[in-house]
């Protein structure tokens, strides 16, 4: 089969690779129809994630058609059209049985700190991902769901990661009616977090970024106020002034490890002196009001980052964070899509053939051509 393989920082190519095989009785092999490039894939692409091995296939957002099932699979059969959460989870361990699917303890031998994730380095279990024609799907009876007949497949692929992650970002903020919510990051996750904040009754939603074209979409897609932090000098001071010196009730960090905005932090990140540039996280800590809520869905690496924890402590913040437990949110998100409250595919800007994925990565990494969400179309479809 054809598959994207990682060749080193900033370098990927498409090669012939062996087909994935059934390794466990509850596996399925899925022929990928739609994949995507995620903002968190860029952390792998940029060489920031430990134990990212040359030859690995990335890609954790996908839909496809079941090609083969293992001997114990009961809920899927060949030919089923499925959407697959980016989490690889067993459904039965301590964490899964409590709804924390992203923290599964039975699928990632390389690190206890996170569950298995498709195509996200060996730190997340060493599974090849779906930027390929076929992918191995463990625990096929647990993770994948059949795509509802009424659902557009591009909406479905956005529901495998970006949309539920943004929704969970807002949910972890424990938004109350009338709250002022500030979202750092106008990428796909930030846009969905902003949109979800309204669903939870926010009274005001402000989105922060430095890319004007993304802030345009934050206004049109998410009905948010926007701020370009390069235009306001001190963003924390500005937000305090905007909130009558109280601060926001809820801040959501939807940026993660490669936040821009402070050259020293960025360079320290690039020199591997810290695991991520926590610029957005620090701004969120400083912009939220005392006693407020900080929700972190931006992804960071396993090493340390220079975070202003003293401010967080002294302000009495409630900090919630996690990778999204995708399937837990599907019933509600399916309702929202069906009711017209959400149309996730509205933010898709590029559809890239698998053979051109190297260009797709460069485009996304360099933020060219007003890219927000690039999908990957596999040839075998």
């Amino acid at each position: 089969m054809r598959a994207m393989v990682y060749r080193g920082p900033y370098r990927v190519r498409v090669e012939d690779k062996a087909m994935p095989v059934i390794e466990h009785p509850n596996d399925a092999i899925v022929r990928v129809t739609y994949g995507a490039i995620c903002g968190s894939d860029l952390h792998l692409y940029h060489g920031l994630m430990p134990d990212t091995r040359v030859g690995m296939t990335f890609g954790h957002e996908f839909t496809g058609v079941v090609e083969e099932v293992g001997s114990s699979v009961q809920h899927l059969k060949r030919g089923d059209r499925v959407m697959v959460p980016f989490n690889i989870f067993c459904g039965s361990c301590f964490f899964c049985s409590r709804g924390l699917y992203s923290n599964c303890h039975n699928t990632n031998p390389n690190a206890s700190a996170v569950g298995g994730i498709y195509g996200y380095s060996h730190t997340c279990g060493g599974y090849d991902g779906a930027q390929a024609e076929f992918v191995r799907v463990p625990f096929a009876d647990v993770g994948p769901s059949i795509i509802p007949e009424w659902m557009d497949e591009e909406d479905a692929v956005l529901l495998t990661d970006a949309c539920p992650t943004g929704y969970q970002g807002a949910e972890m903020g424990d938004i109350q009616e009338g709250d002022v919510v500030v979202v750092f990051g106008a990428g796909p996750v930030g846009l969905f977090a902003a949109k979800s904040a309204w669903l939870m009754g926010a009274g005001r939603v402000i989105v922060i970024d430095h890319l004007d074209y993304r802030l345009d979409v934050a206004r049109s897609f998410a009905n948010a106020e926007t701020l370009n932090f390069t235009q306001v000098g001190d963003i924390v001071q500005h937000l305090k002034e905007q909130t009558d010196y109280l601060g926001a009730d809820v801040c959501i960090d939807a940026v993660g490890a490669e936040a821009d905005g402070a050259l020293g932090q960025v360079l320290a990140n690039k020199l591997k002196l810290q695991a991520g540039s926590p610029v957005a996280l620090n701004w969120a800590i400083d912009s939220v009001r005392k006693g407020g809520n900080l929700s972190v869905v931006g992804a960071y690496g396993p090493l340390f980052s220079a975070v202003k924890f003293g401010d967080a402590m002294n302000k009495g913040l409630t900090i919630r964070s996690n990778q999204c437990s995708v399937k837990r949110h599907w019933p509600r998100l399916f309702e929202h899509v069906k009711n017209g409250h959400l149309k996730p595919s509205e933010i898709v800007t590029h559809r890239i053939p698998l053979e051109h994925i190297a260009e797709g990565y460069h485009l996304f990494s360099s933020k060219l051509d007003n890219v927000i969400k690039p999908l990957v179309v596999a040839k075998a479809a």
């Binding site: 040359v54 206890s112 009338g178 939870m200 009558d244 485009l363 060219l368």
Partner: protein, 196 residues
């Protein structure tokens, strides 16, 4: 203002929001949100079994694992088994240091860099050398409105672009310089042996 008990009027009227924003307040009650409470215990049997623990995947090679796992997880990825010098460093990282130790992650980062160099060499020897131009997707510069995307915008990432270019291209120059230096040294040593 926060100097008095009332919350400042810094948000919009919620009645107006309900009328103008589709779905506003649909998840207003936190108790009905899908992941509230955070932990909701519903025990399940392991998939494909009638027991509590999943069937084990066959271990076809010695699979590395974190010391913070009691044993190898029943299901695991099989991409890119450790090999070569990078594989030795990876096995050392997993065998000796827990995830709580910086040495664990720093060794893995070191192994990643060794892996890249090993892979460049082996790909060249196998007749499928790396092509930095295509692998970096530079053709996207011609298709992606590169000029307009970068200039006349308020992007902040321009400040570290020179550093990015230096960091990335520097290692290729260093690699090239190393190859030239080594081949010159080999030729000099041969000449000395031939001619004394």
């Amino acid at each position: 203002m926060p100097y008095t008990s009332e919350k400042p009027a810094i948000a919009h009227d919620t009645q107006q929001l309900r009328q103008t924003i589709p779905g506003w307040g649909a998840d207003l009650d936190p108790r009905t949100r899908p992941a509230v409470p955070k932990e909701n215990y519903v025990p399940r049997k392991a998939a494909g079994t009638n027991g509590d623990f999943p069937e084990r995947q066959v271990e076809r090679y010695e699979r590395e694992k974190s010391t913070e796992h009691k044993f190898l997880t029943p299901v695991f990825g099989t991409s890119c088994p450790p090999r070569g010098l990078s594989g030795l460093v990876r096995r050392l990282a997993y065998r000796r240091y827990s995830e709580g130790r910086s040495a664990h992650w720093l060794l893995l980062m070191l192994a990643d860099r060794i892996d890249v160099m090993e892979s460049i060499a082996t790909a060249a020897l196998r007749g499928r050398p790396d092509n930095p131009v295509t692998e970096m997707g530079l053709l996207a510069e011609l298709k992606g409105n590169a000029f307009r995307s970068r200039f006349g915008q308020h992007r902040n990432d321009w400040k570290h672009v020179p550093f990015d270019v230096l960091m990335f291209s520097g290692k290729w120059f260093l690699a090239g310089a190393a190859i030239v230096g080594i081949s010159r040294a080999v030729r000099r040593s041969r000449r000395r042996r031939l001619f004394g």
